[in-house]
Symmetry: C2
Subunit: 475 residues, 2 copies
């Protein structure tokens, strides 16, 4: 056990040194979140497929319960039940446009995780740092459950529970609980809990701040020695058992006899009750469907929950988003870690092409209707809450300087903001294969149909107990 | 599929070239025995433990259904449902005594399998070739189901079904169906089917030849285009289903609530009906127990079947041996691929310390009793058959020049033969931990209690379909 404990302290020490300016000790926050027994108990696994050059390297690490796809190196780290998906990494020879300058990728990009302690964290996509095209680096960093590291290289950072760093390079930062950051670059900053912050150069800036008491008392709190608590954690905890059987067997039969053309259901997703999926639907690993209906081209991304809901088609349900008792129109987008909780008697209904901002909480105490083509954010419990928490895309597009609504402040050009979002949603649908016509438009839904999974486990005893052997895998 | 088929032809071509002096084409014998669908279907797995330095290297190979433990390299080969156990390989610095000369091992020994096609073959122990202490090489070779390669480096060889090469270096040889060879060194020879041949320098030689018609018509035949047929194959085939569920789940609970002290039951063994095991019992991977009772220190080695039988204690049931409806005394040895088939009304009973030679068939048509301290060989159906197929160890020890009994011819010194066998049985019991007293005498039974298994699978599609990625694993 000694080596594993040493490794835990090694990673904690590295994060603390990088964050010494803030005086924080991340140890008491994280030690109990990756119990040694669990680090021994859960196997890790990696995907073998032909759509991306395989290269895995694992050394002096514990990887319990983690999943790897794509090119990835892990050294001196503990990744506990993480999801590391590098199937969109840049490949050698690709070109990359940055503000008018065209850069060529010199080598296949690799995700490199070093001296880090990541817990139930999702790492995805490719590095959006144009200064290091070939390397998606996560170093001297720690993260708590249900954090998302999306296209964001992080060094010396502490990501609290349910936080998301999106398309942003971070250095020596602390990102608060349920905080969303998409600002391009951030160094030596502490971003408070419950902030939703998007900034694109001088074009626009979106800023929302949750009422901290509401967030802490009802949804998610994080304290040293106690870890993460609240409805978000309880919700995930209650559904753990449904995932267990996926991991107990080596191969699992598809829950559907005939998978619609172009659709795929990851074998590590939960399928409860009667679900309907259409053509080109993507159900990702650790997605959870219960009595859900997904129209053509809809995707259910990693760690999302969709229950008792109908999604009309071309819907994006991003990583960690939850949708319960909702009827959503076509091409609606629900961002990272959003928590949309209707009830049988308080359903959520939306028109087409709505954008639910990342980290939005809708915890309904009455039925709520959102008209089509609206942007929604923040904290919503009633229809009346929409007044301060939504705006039509049409109105937003006309804003030139800024607008304040409740806890939200928007500055800059509304049209640029709407266009950037639209562009991103189209890109996500395209990458996921939503528009596949049987020949062209192939994306994750189609590529994901044929993956094998290899299982790796740590030394069960002896001096290296809990560490995984050094493993190198190449094509 | 193309690459996998190329690999198959590559290995067949290499064996044929080495055996060109005999004019054989091994292709028609082997192609249908490793069907492409099966090569894609079954996962391979390797053990992670702390009792031996781990080093695995796999490249350009298919490993379907195979199991690896210990230091091993596989290149350009197809290993279909093989069992490669290198946990007894020599370690750097060990000394090794050869006819009075002491050799020191320079590097940790490695099993290296290259350009070979091995089917349901067991590779075990360490190379007994004193000229290459650090390398247990299997190259340009092919083997058919239930062959055993035990301590025998083989190059350019074709091993037919149920053959065993034991402590012998082989070069460009064909070893017949159900043939046992333990002669130290053999080059450019074809050993006919059904021969049991032991030779130790000029000390002694044991030679038995099965009636070829009996062997072919009833037990095991091998023909190009048709593969292996007969009772031996049917017996294994009928029990396949019992193994399947072992492979379907990632972790399997022990069939016994309290495992006796010092005993271990491999998680890939079959446990049917009510079995009893005592202290220090070893049940190896792919051993099959059904209503069996194993006294203290008994071992059930890889691929053995023990059904409706009592083994008093310190029994050795070697790789591939079958024991049905038998009551065997203490310290009885049943050699490789022996097939002892009693019936409820025709039981086999033996006294203590009997030696059943490797490749012995007892297919009883009446109850048979073998007194203690007897050597038994050949083909036995009735009590009367023992006259030409057994001898007391006492009588054998007194033989100075030789003896002929039925199809068996023994030449040389009987005492040396008996002592060599005794020494080997004691060594096997010791290595397997039969004499563990809670502190000293630790062997496989005790070391095997704590192993993790990692699972690997091939590319499911694309140009590399059916090949496993290149994998390197180090401590």
């Amino acid at each position: 056990m000694k080596e594993l404990e040493k490794l835990m302290e090694h990673t904690i020490g590295r994060v603390n040194i990088n964050l010494r300016h803030s005086g924080i000790d991340v140890g008491p926050y994280l030690r109990d979140m990756a119990p040694v027994d669990n680090l021994l108990k859960f196997y890790a696994f990696y995907g073998i497929w032909s759509n991306h050059p395989i290269h895995f390297h694992f050394s002096r690490s514990n990887l319990a319960g983690s999943y790897f796809l794509g090119r990835c190196k892990v050294d001196n780290s503990i990744l506990y039940k993480c999801d590391i998906r590098g199937d969109e990494l840049k490949e050698k020879g690709e070109t990359f446009d940055v503000d008018g300058t065209t850069l060529t990728v010199e080598d296949d990009e690799v995700i490199w995780i070093k001296n880090s302690l990541l817990i139930k964290t999702l790492v995805h996509n490719f590095s959006h740092n144009p200064e290091k095209l070939e390397l998606f680096l996560i170093k001297n960093s720690a993260s708590a459950p249900y954090a998302n590291i999306h296209g964001s290289p992080v060094e010396g950072c502490f990501l609290e529970p349910f936080s998301t760093v999106d398309l942003t390079s971070l250095h020596d930062c602390r990102i608060g609980t349920y905080t969303y950051v998409n600002v391009g670059y951030l160094s030596h900053k502490e971003v408070e809990s419950g902030r939703v912050w998007i900034k694109h150069n001088d074009d626009f800036e979106f800023n929302y701040l949750f009422d901290n008491d509401v967030l802490r008392n009802r949804y998610i709190a994080f304290e040293p020695g106690k870890g993460a608590m609240g409805m978000f954690m309880d919700f995930a905890e209650d559904r753990k058992i449904d995932f267990q059987r996926l991991y107990d067997v080596v191969n699992l039969d598809s829950p559907v006899k005939e998978i619609p053309r172009g659709a795929s259901i990851n074998r590590y997703s939960v399928w409860k009750g009667k679900n309907n999926i259409s053509e080109n639907v993507l159900v990702s690993q650790r997605a959870y469907l219960e009595s859900a209906s997904l129209g053509p081209g809809a995707n259910a991304q990693e760690n999302c929950y969709i229950s008792f809901s109908n999604l009309a088609g071309y819907n994006v349900t991003a990583h960690g988003a939850t949708i319960i008792y909702a009827n959503m129109g076509k091409k609606c987008f629900v961002g990272f870690n959003s928590f949309l909780q209707g009830k049988p008697e308080c359903q959520l209904t939306t028109g087409d092409e709505c954008i639910v901002m990342p980290h939005t909480i809708m915890d309904l105490s009455e039925p709520v209707n959102i008209p089509g083509r609206h942007l929604v954010w923040g904290y919503i419990r009633t229809q009346a809450d929409l007044e301060e928490n939504s705006i039509s895309l049409e109105r937003l597009s006309k804003i030139k300087d800024g607008i304040e609504m409740g806890n939200m402040r928007f500055t800059g050009n509304g049209e640029a903001f709407v266009n950037a979002f639209r562009h991103r949603i189209d890109h996500i649908l395209e990458a996921n294969g939503a528009f596949f016509d049987g020949e062209s438009g192939r994306g994750h839904a189609q590529k994901g149909q044929n993956i094998s999974f290899n299982i790796i486990q740590p030394y069960p005893r002896g001096p290296l107990k809990g560490l995984y052997p050094t493993i190198d895998i190449e094509p």
